[in-house]
Assembly symmetry: D2
Homo-oligomer: 347 residues x 4
């Protein structure tokens, strides 16, 4: 922590800050410039937390407090000695050179829709199957998902295709039911800072895919991951799915800069969800190619046999019969970034 004093700070102000820092057992060191004094307290992360909680920004003569150390530890690149983590989920790898294409319908609607889609994405080389049984909906009047029945259909798709299942958990009370089917538990963007839920999935030990909140910083995304990792669960995948900006010409702004930046910050795999960001099918392919070329470790994308008949988010779902062509193009883009489809490797 660096405490930057105001030019008008008195000696007593400076000393008071130093005393406060030393009272909590940290070492303080002041650097006096010609205009301002800067007080440094740079020890361990623990010291940083203690000093942060002092609330020094409100002290007389203090201009601002600048954190020096990262607030996350287990998620940091350094924690894994600078190397990316490679997770193995149901025989598929994600991270490092392995690229995972995760595909399936927005929501599980029926047996036929689910199995048709699962067959199509399996045939095209997808690594995992996604589908929502519990759906967070902005409106209380909208379809809220099939729930338990949806989970049952996902289990059937998994038995049939061998694809691991990715599905969303919204309520701590559903965790056992979800854990019976899910190979990866998805935490949605709206729940990214639902710390109760994060701690619970952490304790479950199941692989977790955390979607970045609409206006969450990358640091906050890593702090959400830290809630899971802290429970001893190392299997965390991060997912960029679009952030909220001023632009209204499309739904959300897909933040592809997040890919290389996260790869500097953390060892965890990073996937991209182009479907929810774009909101329209015509944008999904270019955004998928961009994400793969930028070095994403995977893509999670929505596919439906008949998007026009979908119960929700039809306009953004790819057509199942066009999925193989899409997957082939994504594979080429991933290759530009030096990645190979894990499905091929696992096949």
């Amino acid at each position: 922590m660096m405490i930057v004093m105001k030019p008008t700070a008195s000696e007593a102000d400076i000393q008071a800050v130093i005393d406060k820092i030393e009272n909590v057992g940290s070492k303080a060191h002041s650097s006096r410039g010609e205009e301002v004094t800067v007080i440094g307290a740079i020890g361990h992360v623990e010291d940083e937390v203690h000093v942060a909680e002092l609330g020094l920004e409100a002290y007389p003569g203090v201009d601002r407090v600048v954190p020096i150390l990262k607030p996350y530890k287990l998620a940091s690149k350094q924690f894994n000695h600078g190397k990316p983590s490679v997770l193995e989920i149901g025989g598929r790898r994600i991270g490092g050179e392995d690229f995972a294409l995760i595909a399936g319908p927005c929501t599980v609607e029926s047996r036929d829709q689910t199995l048709t889609t699962a067959d199509a994405v399996a045939a095209a080389g997808a690594a995992m199957f996604r589908g929502g049984a519990y759906k967070p909906r902005t409106s209380p009047y909208a379809f809220q998902g099939l729930g338990q029945e949806g989970l049952r259909l996902l289990a059937e798709a998994k038995a049939r295709t061998g694809l691991p299942i990715v599905t969303e958990l919204m309520d701590t009370r559903d965790i056992e039911a979800v854990a019976e089917v899910a190979d990866v538990v998805q935490i949605g963007a709206r729940n990214m800072q639902n710390y109760t839920l994060l701690s619970e999935v952490g304790r479950s030990g199941l692989p977790v895919l955390i979607k970045r909140g609409l206006s969450s910083t990358l640091e906050e995304l890593l702090m959400a991951a830290e809630y899971v990792l802290k429970e001893g669960n190392e299997n965390v995948i991060l997912c960029e799915r679009g952030i909220r900006t001023f632009e209204t010409a499309y739904r959300f702004t897909l933040d592809l800069t997040a890919i290389p930046v996260l790869k500097e910050m953390t060892h965890l795999p990073v996937v991209v969800d182009p479907s929810h960001a774009a909101g329209r099918r015509a944008l999904v392919t270019p955004l998928s190619l961009a994400a793969a070329a930028a070095g994403a470790d995977g893509i999670i994308v929505e596919v439906h046999p008949e998007p026009e008949e979908a119960i929700c988010d039809g306009p953004q779902q790819l057509r199942a019969d066009e999925f193989a062509a899409y997957a082939a193009q994504v594979e080429r883009a991933a290759a530009v970034a030096g990645k190979v489809f894990t499905a091929a490797a696992a096949g």
Copy 2:
């Protein structure tokens, strides 16, 4: 719903959209301009929901789909015949001409801190007492609140001062414990779209204060309220607490335009939390005066006997011994907007 067709849309494209709309039982009417055709389907809200779920934006020849009706009903100004709702909570009113000053510490830390603050805010004319027992913290390594022990201290403060209690609920599993003490259940900004939690507090029947998410639109805030109202619980208070923007010179951007705009959209009372938005004590007074002058129905503000010793958010908490002067100034600002302190009325 208005469906704007592209200039290049064919007759068949137009007819296909009309057919789709009529298939779900709505009426479609097309207006042909010289450049484009617009198809209208403007019946009830229910029709609007059905047409929205068709996903027409992905149909051939469709340029965009424009909602006409509001997606919220129970929260709308119209639902209350254009009049503001006035809630009565423990003998205090909020809404209409009644202004409620809600004050107390960020987090309940100890018996002494809690009771000292409660006495100070009661003496200065506060309408309710706030304090956190369960705290959502960005870092898993930070203090997470006293939990049950915190609730017990809040109950003691209530018994002593007669002030109704406002406290946060984070987990559906804690609802019974919180309901024993709380007069108003607070849903934090990070949980504004935790639909499970909203439905549960709706069913509890307790008054609910919903904080706007950091990047939630006013429409989304009203949809969150709708989740509570839909369970038959009419006692909802909305809270603006700062939104996330590009500015880095302070913590969040307090959106005071939200006050008059929400008052056009909804009958529900609107309060402002200047403490979390500002993050620094020096900003709390000017922002409080601004909120009151803009017509807010109340302010929820943090106060501490010794902010320098606070466990969390010390820098943003007002000093208990300066609170009376603050309250008097807020009362003058509220008067400019034609409001009176409810505490005086209830006294």
Copy 3:
């Protein structure tokens, strides 16, 4: 400047940074924490500029570079010894305890419209008269202002009412014509970073009102002011007029937190434009009251005799015949913040 090294930085990396800093004549001092090393170079602002231009963020082992000193000098609060500047313009004061209400039509349309409005705002206690002769319009097909003829009408309004004139300059080539009439030259939000224009109005010596760009930080606003101040022109007024955020329920988000924060950063007066932020008349009064209560030094607001007939921005202009009531209410709100209308003082 503080240079935070990565945990993996080598001794050679650290030494290279120190050498670089010392090569440009600054002093470097390293603080070694248990996890990272921080190198400080905290001398004068000039040193900070030199070190900034080294681009150290791209050096091996460097995590990030944190500026310590403010990049503005003449605009800083410290430059005026911690006191606010009070400008005197045509006998009216702005800044300190003096509040200036600046009012007039969006654009000068006709002799009658201009003089009727000028009479109304003068009678109601406005301190200055505003009106646009040159208008920046998003569309090349929209009305672009009366130009020279508009300036002539403003001169007539000034002769008649004695009110100083505030009008916008868009092109360096018009500066002489504008300077003949204007008591304050307005730089619009879209031109806030038009450095050529800023330097020219700096050299003109005329008082300048700079509107904050739609997505400009407060620091950038002060850097724009610095361009004017650096030419020896001390008469700069800053204007908050709404920033662009994700919210779509209204036009722009009026950033009232900017008022107290700017007052900590700078000695320059700060006014607020509620008309452009809101875009609708019904929002102008509550936002004006909020701005005044938050401590603004003035308000610049649009008024028209018949807003329904206005050539541009009719919906956001106050009615001239309701202006006196509006002004009286603003005066009460300003009083809450300890301010008095300058017009009264100058009367």
Copy 4:
């Protein structure tokens, strides 16, 4: 234009809106739903402009006014019959299947730096050479560019390599000097809404590259292009260079969704500037690959022989000796989107 009335609008309110519309010569048609009435006025763009200027949003009973037609004409996809424009500049094509790599230093610093870089980028297959002679700088104390001397060095680079020159114009008074050297005049992000400048470069007839403002919508970018096109100048290139969002982990958020969305809206070529968005060299390659894979028509990127010694923006400039490898990788990514390097075609 569609005018959505409030549920509480009276018959007289509805009739007043219809009368207003018909007074300006447009046709109005009302659709009465069960909850609200919508009045449509959908003729030509000209009608839309007239109706927009009525300011109907402020009329009694009006809820909101929804534009139906696009406010731009010459820039629209439809204007070019749905086909992309291919510009030819100094023998290089941009647009359609032709991808142009535009490279060079941030700022022209010296003869040696300029010519070394020009040689390197020419050898690696760049289509054009970029370099700044006039530099917009946030700080008045920073280096402002070599000006005329810079233009002379660019002319020398062009004579030597044959590469067309892209350079920025900031002031209408410099247009003749710039026009002598520039094959493409760049309008910087800060000047995107400097309408005087846009009209002047429109009249010059020179190809113009317009950078999107930091917080400009895509529609506003197209309106800026419309200012140039309206002067009869058809040679406009649009450039995405990062938008301002809440994220602070990197400099700007590169909006790659803008690429496919602009390609739906307009026939004009779209290039991407990854250097200014990223601000750091390590991010430039992944963002360039992403932009090319997303279907950009070109990339404009900064290159320097010795970035550590650069006068400005060193950290974001690619190294000249690594540029050939970079270009080869971008070429592969462009191929994924079906594009070929124009330099090869022109060679």
